[in-house]
Structures are given as C-alpha cells and as structure tokens.
Amino acid sequence: MAQLIKQGNVANDTWTTLTLAEGETPESVALPAGDVIFPLAVWRARQNEIVSCHKRIGLLLQPDDKVEEIAADLQYFIVVAVHFPKFVDGRGYSTAALLRQRYHYQGELRAVGDVLHDQLFFMKRVGFDSYALKDGKDAIYAIGKGFAPFSETYQASTDQPEPHFRRRTA
C-alpha cells in the first residue's frame, strides 16, 4: 500500500480509486459508495449519476488526459489525483501546474503512482499537496528531507508565484 503524506504527516487515506476490471466499461461499471476517485472516462460517462449519489468526488488523471477538457468540472472535485506511471514521466508536473495556475483548482491535488522521495520537492513546487509515496519507502525520512532540499528557488511556480529576482530586496 502506498503511504499517504499530507500536511507533513503520514495520513490515513479515506479514498478508494475505482479501477475497471477486465470486461468492465466506464458505462457499465458499478459505482461504489464512499469517497471514490473516478477515472476520467468514468466521470465523463457517468457524471450525472456520480453527482447525484456522491457528495465527495475524486478524479484520477492519467499523464495524457488533457486538463483543459475538465477545467469546467473542477468545482465537483474534492481530490484530483495525478498519476505518475513512472517517476521519470514528467507530464504530471505540467498537469498540476495548469490545474493550480491556470484553472485555479483549490482542492486536494494528489500525486499517485511511482511517487518517490527525490521528486517530492518538484511536486510540492508545482502545486501538489498530498503524495501517495510508493510502498516500501521511508515516509518519515521523506517527510523530513524530501520536501526542502533547497533553501531557495529561482523560478516562479505554484508554491512561489514570484521568481527570486522579483523578491530581491537590493
């Protein structure tokens, strides 16, 4: 099980992610109760149904899902999870930056998949605020060391919208 890091602590994860078993389709899959993170295809196919029976809704975005296409739906989501199939696949960073900076998504933004200690700093910078650290990794050490390896940042991003050169005093 991945270990959820949230607000500097290991947190209990109340959300389950709906995965389609073989033979199931977004149109036919049974919608479970509780806090559920839905794949984009299921959200698209069953939006009205989901909204009518769920108060708390999560969305799962894959690296090639286009943020632009769900920009109008963001109000519905408590959690948006961005999947990193491999940690070297950096598309999720742009997804997060767009969600926060362009579409002003305010809910929980969660990194899921191949989420590792040495990428937490970058993830935090672009706007993630919860992290499903890969199973077997040291979550306490990651919380202590992974988020702030650098004492300053040069460029603007979600967590610091002003580049360093605009914050110079002299």
């Binding site: 696949d89 390896p149 004492s151 460029q155 360093h164």
Partner: protein, 563 residues
C-alpha cells in the same frame, strides 16, 4: 564574469548535500539502480565502459582562474591528472570513483562550480560564443541572458523530467558561432527598431536524426524570454513522445506537428504567461549584466613595436598569431585560442599541469578569466598585443600552442569507443592518425581553413554532421567502420553534410582524407577555402577519387565470393 551571491552559492551547497544523501541511500539499498540513475545523471554522473564518467558544468563556457585550478586539483586528486573538454563547454573526468563524487562536488562548490543538469532528461548547460563580450561583430553580449536562463533552468520543477535532454544555445553576433540552428532551442540576439530581443529557433539537433531548427518566432523582446521558453517547454513536456527514446527530442515533435501547428500551441500557451511574473525586469537584467562589464582595458593607440618586429622575424610566432588569435573589439588586444588539438593527443584533453599553466596565463595576461569553446579549445579573451609573445612562449612550452585553429588537424572529436559506452567505434585514434598524416605545418597552412569533425556514434557529440568533412563511427557486424560526409557547416548557413558512400575501415581513413584534400587542392581557385571549392564543384569529384578502384555494390559482392 558572473559572481555568485549568497543564494547562488547556498543552492549548490544544498545540491552537494542532496546528492551525498542520494548516494548514501543508493548504497544502503533504499534507492534502486533505476531510481538512482536519473538522479546521478542530473549530477553529470554516467556509469561508463571503464569507470564512471563525470561531467562538470562550465556554464556558457566561462571560467575564472581559481575555478580552473580547482579543476586541475580535482582531476589530479580524484582522477588520472587530466580532463576532457566537450563540445558543450563542460569538463569530463573519465575515471573518478562514484563514491568520491559527493566529495568532488563539495570541492567544486568551494569555487562555485557544480555538475547540475549536465546530463539527464532536463535542461542542460547553455552554450554560447566563446568570444562573447569581445567579438568585433557582436550585437549584444549573450552572457547576461545566458546567466538569467541558467538560473531559471536550475531545478525548474516542471521540467526536471522531460521526454529527453534539452539544449539551449545563444548567439549575439552577426555570424553565428554557437551552432544555434542545431539546438533544441537556438536563440539569436538582435536589435529591431531599437529594441533588443531574440529570434527563437526550435527543434534543431544533430544526433541520430539531424534536423535544422525552424524559426518559431522571428522576434521576441528580451524581457519575455523566460515565459516564452516556459511555453515551449510546457508544450514539449506534455506532448513530446515518451514511448521511444530515439523519437523523444523536441525536433521530432516539431516535425510531427509541423512548425505552424507547433508555433500555434506555443503562442496559445504563451498568451497566458505573457507579461506575468516571469517577465524579466530591467533591474534584474542590469544586476546580472553588471557582472559582465568590460575589464579595465588599457587605452592603446599604437601597435606594439616589439610585437610587430616579432611577427616579421619569427615565422612560427606569426603563424600562431594568424591561426590562434582573433580580432578584439578593443584596439591593442586579441583573443587567444590555446589549442587543445596538439597532434597525437586526444582532442579536447588537458592535463592538470596544463590547466595550471592556463590559469597562470589568465591571471597574468587576461584579467583572470578564460572561456571554453565548443570546438574544445581554451580562450584567453583579452590579451594585449604586447603580451602575445610571452603568452605564446609559455603556451608553446606547455603544448598548448599548436597553430592549427580552423585547420585540418584542429579536429572536433568525442571521447568515442575508448571511453564512452554509447559509441559504436573509436574516434580518438582516427583523429590522431589524421593528425599524424598531416603533421607538416606548411602543408596544413596551404590547405587552409577546414573543419573536420569526428563522432564515435550517431549521437553526434563530435558534431560530424556540421563538419566540412564529417566522420561517423558505425558498427557493421561488430567491426568498426567510418562513414564520411562532406559539405556540412556551422554558422548562419548551417547545413548537414552529405554521405559520400560506403564506409571505410579505420586504417583507410587517413588515405581517404588525403584524397579528399587532394581533390580540393587540384581544383581550388585562388582564395577558395575547401568549402567554397566543394560548393562549386559538388560532391562527385570527391566521391570518384575516394572510391576509385574500390569495388562496391555488386562488384564487391562478386569479389568477396571469389575470395
């Protein structure tokens, strides 16, 4: 040159500690090899044929003497007493111990050096013209903007895991000396209606699929360069291919979309960021540019008499001045190129002892600064004419004054199969064999200007595609062969060379080059350089001479059968 402030320095110290911890976790089994690989690559550390290869950044080619002395020390202490300058201004060590690298980084940090993003699928070291700031044909000094881009690209959170590596080059002169047409992003500084800005070229590259870049924006005022590059990188990060490493460079995306469609995406992205916080302020430009102000040049109104006399009296000196010094925008000064192309030595290699000699020369004669060129030489940019004879004498004694800059034996060459894991063939022995064949200086001078570039594989670190003569190592059934191209060139009319035909064995290469040169010498008009003659007479005369009497195609197959 740019001097680090407390923040710049703190960041590289942070980096040292971060990497030390990563190495520790890797050794303890907390990081797998696959998890560690991109982390070490982003600190310039490869695992190579014989040992790790470690690449130290020389941002846009600028070094001071203290930094070079530190490099000399590091090469001596942790390696075999020499390093190799690459075509991206960086210094490579071929034999360090992986577990020493955190200590090496700590030593380098003492003089503001690092290995940040010298490899990996991220924004790499930005390259520029080795004569920036002193070139007579310079429009705008590219170094302040190169430094601003360096800072912006350092640990950029959105672009640390791109589909593939990403290289910038900036040129601020009329004649492009930074190979800007063959970079992921090439920037030409220019002034339009009194406004300074860039022509933005995207999607060039050498390597396996050599492609000339295309203009995405004819003119972009300089203040917008960070937001514009961010737009380009975001489009690339989102839509560049990740399924096949050979098709993952931005050039493939630009080709696939077409430059118009690609430009449309970039401009749409940029529309959101334009005039936002990433817009460079005049104050920031001024702050950085102040570091690149002119040194305390003397006012020199007459040509030094001693220098003039020596030019007349000493042919060897005169030759060196002709080939290895370049015009300077300040009267009474020249830029000196110290040749790392001594015949018989691997191109770009420099010993620790030589580094110390160069550092001393820089302190004594060139304001304590030096530059590395993409042709793998070291430049003292600000030497008085009156000092040239002294510089020459010291450089000569140290083996750094071969008067071959721009000539046939000033070969650009990658480390090749002797060192590099990627190589299909050795490259250094080919370079040295050609240098031995053309060891006669009179003959070299008679042949005149010509670029000979050698790469040991199609990754093209030796820029073979843009050599007038390009040599590419290829693997044929586990044997090393060499494919020859002609007519490539860098500069404003940058062009890829054309393959002349079937490849050659290593032993044949000096003869092949010799034949190519003979065709040129027999056909040239007065004042024609090799490339001019080539353009006039075309590739066929060269092809015919090189393959004369050589069976190929069906005839070769028949010959083989008979044998």
């Amino acid at each position: 040159m740019y001097k680090y402030d407390a923040i710049d320095r703190q960041l590289i110290l942070d980096r040292v500690e971060q990497f030390r911890d990563q190495v520790r976790r890797w050794q303890a089994g907390e990081l797998t090899d696959d998890e560690f690989r991109p982390l070490r690559l982003q600190n310039g550390l490869y695992i190579q044929r014989h040992a790790p290869m470690f690449r130290i950044a020389v941002p846009y080619g600028m070094l001071n003497s203290a930094q070079l002395r530190k490099l000399a020390h590091v090469a001596r202490q942790y390696d075999r007493g020499y390093g190799h300058f690459t075509t991206r201004h960086n210094l490579q060590l071929n034999w360090p111990k992986l577990t020493d690298v955190p200590d090496i980084l700590a030593e380098l940090a003492e003089v503001d050096l690092h290995a940040i993003q010298t490899s990996g699928n991220c924004i790499r070291n930005i390259t520029t013209d080795q004569f920036a700031g002193v070139a007579a044909d310079e429009i705008i000094d590219p170094r302040p903007l190169a430094e601003i881009l360096r800072q912006w690209s350092t640990f950029h959170p959105e672009f640390a895991f791109l589909p593939r590596k990403f290289k910038f080059a900036i040129s601020g002169t009329d004649e492009d000396r930074a190979v800007t047409w063959f970079h992921d992003i090439g920037l030409h500084l220019k002034v339009v209606d009194g406004v300074a800005g860039f022509t933005v070229i995207v999607g060039g590259g050498l390597g396996r699929t050599p492609i000339r870049g295309q203009v995405v924006r004819e003119f972009l005022p300089w203040q917008h360069i960070l937001s514009y590059c961010e737009a380009i990188l975001r489009v690339y990060n989102r839509f560049g291919r990740r399924d096949n490493a050979y098709k993952a460079r931005i050039k493939i995306l630009v080709q696939a979309l077409g430059v118009e469609e690609f430009t449309k995406l970039v401009e749409a992205e940029w529309a959101h960021a334009k005039d936002g916080p990433a817009t460079i302020t005049q104050a920031e430009y001024n702050r950085v540019a102040a570091h690149f102000g002119a040194p305390a040049y003397e006012t020199i109104t007459t040509v030094d008499a001693g220098y003039q006399a020596k030019i007349v009296d000493d042919k060897a000196f005169a030759r060196w001045v002709e080939r290895n010094t370049q015009p300077h925008k300040v009267p009474g000064y020249r830029a000196v190129t110290l040749s790392l192309k001594k015949h018989g030595v691997a191109p770009g290699d420099i010993t620790s002892d030589q580094m110390e000699v160069v550092a001393d020369l820089a302190d004594r004669y060139s304001f304590g600064e030096l530059r590395i060129s993409h042709e793998q030489n070291v430049i003292l940019a600000d030497v008085k004419l009156a000092d040239l004879a002294d510089v020459w004498r010291v450089a000569k004694a140290a083996g750094l004054a071969t008067p071959n800059i721009g000539l046939l034996t000033s070969i650009i060459c990658c480390p090749g199969g002797d060192f590099c894991d990627l190589a299909n063939a050795k490259s250094i022995p080919i370079a040295t064999a050609i240098q031995q064949r053309f060891d006669d200086l009179d003959y070299l001078f008679d042949i005149g200007e010509i670029d000979l570039n050698i790469s040991g594989c199609m990754n093209a670190c030796g820029h073979h595609h843009v050599g007038h003569i390009g040599v590419l190592g290829v693997d044929k059934n586990n044997d090393e062969f060499y494919q020859v191209t002609l007519g490539g060139r860098q500069g404003n009319d940058a062009k890829l060379g054309k393959v002349i035909g079937p490849s050659f064995s290593a032993g044949e290469m000096p003869d092949v080059v010799d034949k190519i040169i003979k065709v040129y010498l027999e056909n040239r008009h007065p004042d024609e350089r090799f490339i001019d003659t080539f353009d006039r007479i075309g590739i066929d005369p060269f092809k015919n001479r090189v393959y004369e009497g050589r069976a190929h195609g069906k005839a070769k197959a028949a010959e083989k059968e008979a044998a």
